[in-house]
């Protein structure tokens, strides 16, 4: 266990490039988010029921809009924003995702979840993904006038199959009713992240590499699901 210590870098350290301008921007953004949070809780007394993440998203959006209308070149702050904009999402993915997933699993109430594991699996891996994703794909292909292919539609569907239990689980826990329902929602989103990601990767690989031979798809699915069932 001690050997792993040097793997832990502060998750926000890695994306800082050689110039420190990103740090300037990020520190400003995080402090601004804190002020937003203070404003929500102190001034509005939590009466304005928008989740904090939405507020942060809108904050980022507004900053982005404002900055795109300013054409100063020689400014560290703007420079930081531009660098952050071009950040590689894979980096985000590898830095943040393991922590997000591990936290969701580690802080779940295992003894309540245990009884739900079967239906949770069904809801997420089975029905949620295999029913949810195709329906969204159908909607995207036939209703949207974008001429998306099946693969693109399914990829779109698989992205939208992930769920997040943020608000509802907290609410159900606090109201003291239906612990099993809260556990099921929690478990669903936890397992969903995994299975959705597998399907997403398969479609993405096919689209990007252009190989759509049936053999490769089957091999991929078998490999990933084997890994999944082995794990569970």
């Amino acid at each position: 266990m001690i050997i792993t210590d040097n793997h832990t870098t502060d998750s926000h350290d890695v994306e800082h490039h050689s110039t420190g301008t990103v740090i300037l921007f990020l520190s400003f953004a995080v402090l601004a988010a804190c002020i937003c949070k203070l404003f929500l809780s102190q001034v509005l007394k939590n009466k304005f029921p928008v989740p904090f993440t939405v507020v942060v998203l809108i904050l980022g959006f507004i900053i982005g809009i404002i900055i795109s209308h300013i054409d100063l070149i020689d400014n560290n702050f703007l420079e930081g924003e531009r660098q952050l904009k071009d950040i590689d999402p894979h980096l985000l993915f590898y830095i943040f995702l393991p922590l997000l997933i591990f936290d969701a699993a580690f802080n779940s109430h295992f003894h309540i979840i245990q009884k739900q594991i079967f239906s949770g699996l069904l809801l997420s891996a089975g029905l949620g993904v295999f029913i949810g994703a195709p329906i969204i794909a159908l909607c995207a292909i036939y209703i949207f006038p974008y001429d998306w292919s099946w693969l693109e539609g399914l990829m779109f569907g698989s992205i939208l199959s992930t769920t997040d239990p943020v608000a509802i689980v907290a609410l159900l826990h606090e109201s003291g009713a239906s612990k099993s329902l809260a556990a099921l929602i929690e478990l669903e989103s936890l397992l969903n992240d995994g299975s959705t990601f597998v399907i997403f990767l398969i479609f993405k690989d096919i689209i990007v590499s252009g190989s759509n031979s049936a053999k490769k798809i089957i091999v991929d699915i078998v490999k990933f699901t084997l890994g999944e069932y082995y794990c569970i």
Partner: protein
């Protein structure tokens, strides 16, 4: 190996998450996400592998970390969204907003269909939800950071043409916004509308009693403080803002419940009772204290008063009440066991056995199951029994003795831990007489049941004590 080492244990969990993700994703080419999720669940099951003094810090560290990560993800997403909305206005038109709304509706239809398909399977696997709960399940499909990250990955793939990438990002961000704002904020109202924010009548009753108890204790404390000199400058009105009474009102307002009104309906009898209320005893922390405190006679019935007029012949209600009480009592036991582990009175292994047994008992609302499973653990395992046959071989005998001692040790710990239950019960009665008052009959029956188990436990301990010298002589 590592014990109560704050930094090492917390950092090791972070390192573990990353290392695991890397190994699964790159070396084994299985889904890293799934691997991390499964190991996280495994660690949640063996929660007590984290030492006792690190349990709280580790929870807060993770919470802050995740909060920070969420801020970063959403800020970055917001910036990227802004950039491409300004930069590529030609691709996204007003029509696309309309499509986003259509997509949002379809998303819920799909989820409803999935839940409907799931229904027979869930029924079959023995989980029964009401239609209201299924509705909440449908409404709870929020999309959040994960979908955004995946959309960003698509955005960076240069093989897909740019318009499609932008449309992906746009629609997914819109859906995230919609679900987080609409579903996230309205779920509170949905839950309230469906009446799921209230427990069963029995648990409500107990909650009401607990609040009543709190009020009495607070007013006693206040009265005492008002008489003391050093508090003479206190502005009591300001203090009242922070007292449970006010907090209950606020909770009512935010959850649209009527707990405070019902609480006020209970006759406020704090005034005349001031003189007779005993000081709450703190819960004894070790066995010796427990043993001494158990001698206290429980004679507080003179100031107990019936709040609700229950009809004992209503058997179903009685049954529910009994289950509710059992569950609450078992939960109290769980906390006790954890405390005993925290104080180093029982080992981690014993704690696991106890917790597993309590969870099982809590699921079936019966204290009997708890005691039975403890007894089950005390039996010699099959392996040990077979080994007993071969005790003529010297090496086996030596190993066997080690195991047997270990087993006796475990047995003593288990029974000793359980032994404190009756004192726990009496303590609850002293500290919290209102609970016993809710239903005298249930309480009596429960305490009788627990007394009998405690008696058995005491005999078992006595037995062990007397036979221990014989055992030692035998092993030598």
């Amino acid at each position: 190996m590592i014990n109560n080492d704050l930094e090492v244990e917390i950092i090791a969990t972070f390192g573990l998450a990353y290392l695991l993700f890397y190994i699964a994703d790159v070396e084994l080419t299985v889904s890293g996400v799934l691997a991390v999720a499964v190991v996280g669940l495994y660690m949640a099951k063996h929660k007590y592998c984290i030492s006792s003094h690190v349990q709280l810090p580790i929870t807060s560290t993770w919470r802050i970390m995740i909060y920070f990560i969420k801020i970063l993800i959403f800020i970055i997403t917001g910036i990227i969204l802004a950039e491409f909305l300004v930069g590529t206005q030609t691709h996204i038109t007003g029509r696309d907003f309309g499509f986003s709304i259509v997509l949002y509706i379809f998303l819920h239809l799909a989820r409803l269909l999935a839940v409907a398909c799931l229904y027979p399977f869930m029924h079959w696997s023995g989980i029964y939800f009401s239609w209201k709960e299924y509705l909440v399940l449908t409404w709870s499909g929020l999309r959040s950071s994960m979908a955004v990250i995946l959309a960003l990955i698509i955005k960076s793939e240069s093989h897909i043409d740019e318009i499609t990438r932008n449309r992906f990002l746009f629609h997914i961000c819109m859906i995230v916004l919609f679900t987080l704002t609409i579903n996230g904020t309205s779920s509170k109202f949905v839950v309230r509308l469906l009446g799921l924010n209230q427990g069963t009548p029995e648990s409500e009753t107990i909650l009401l009693q607990a609040l009543e108890h709190m009020r009495i204790q607070t007013s006693n404390q206040l009265n005492k403080m008002k008489q003391e000199k050093q508090f003479s400058d206190v502005d009591w009105n300001i203090l009242n803002e922070y007292l449970p009474e006010k907090l209950v009102q606020e909770m009512d307002a935010s959850r649209k419940t009527s707990i405070h009104r019902r609480l006020s309906a209970i006759p406020n009898t704090t005034g005349p009772r001031n003189s007779s209320v005993v000081q709450p005893q703190s819960f004894p922390n070790n066995i010796h204290e427990i043993n001494s405190s158990s001698d206290n006679p429980v004679t507080h019935e003179d100031f107990l008063f019936p709040v609700f007029d229950f009809q004992p012949e209503d058997t179903k209600r009685y049954e529910n009440m009994r289950n509710e009480m059992s569950i609450r009592f078992l939960t109290a036991l769980l906390v006790d066991y954890e405390k005993q582990w925290y104080l180093g009175m029982i080992r981690r292994r014993t704690l696991y056995i106890l917790i597993k047994s309590v969870e099982k008992a809590r699921h079936q609302c019966s204290i009997k199951i708890h005691w039975d499973s403890i007894i089950e653990q005390c039996r010699l395992s099959f392996l040990l029994q077979t080994f007993l046959q071969f005790d003529s071989i010297d090496w086996i005998k030596k190993q066997l003795n080690k195991f047997l001692f270990d087993h006796i040790f475990l047995m003593i710990e288990l029974v000793l831990a359980f032994h404190s239950t009756r004192d726990r019960m009496n303590n609850i009665r002293i500290q919290f007489p209102e609970l016993a008052n809710i239903d005298e009959q249930v309480w009596k029956e429960l305490s009788r049941e627990i007394s009998s188990y405690q008696q058995i436990a005491a005999y078992t301990l006595l037995d062990l004590q007397q036979s221990y010298p014989i055992c030692v002589g035998e092993f030598k």
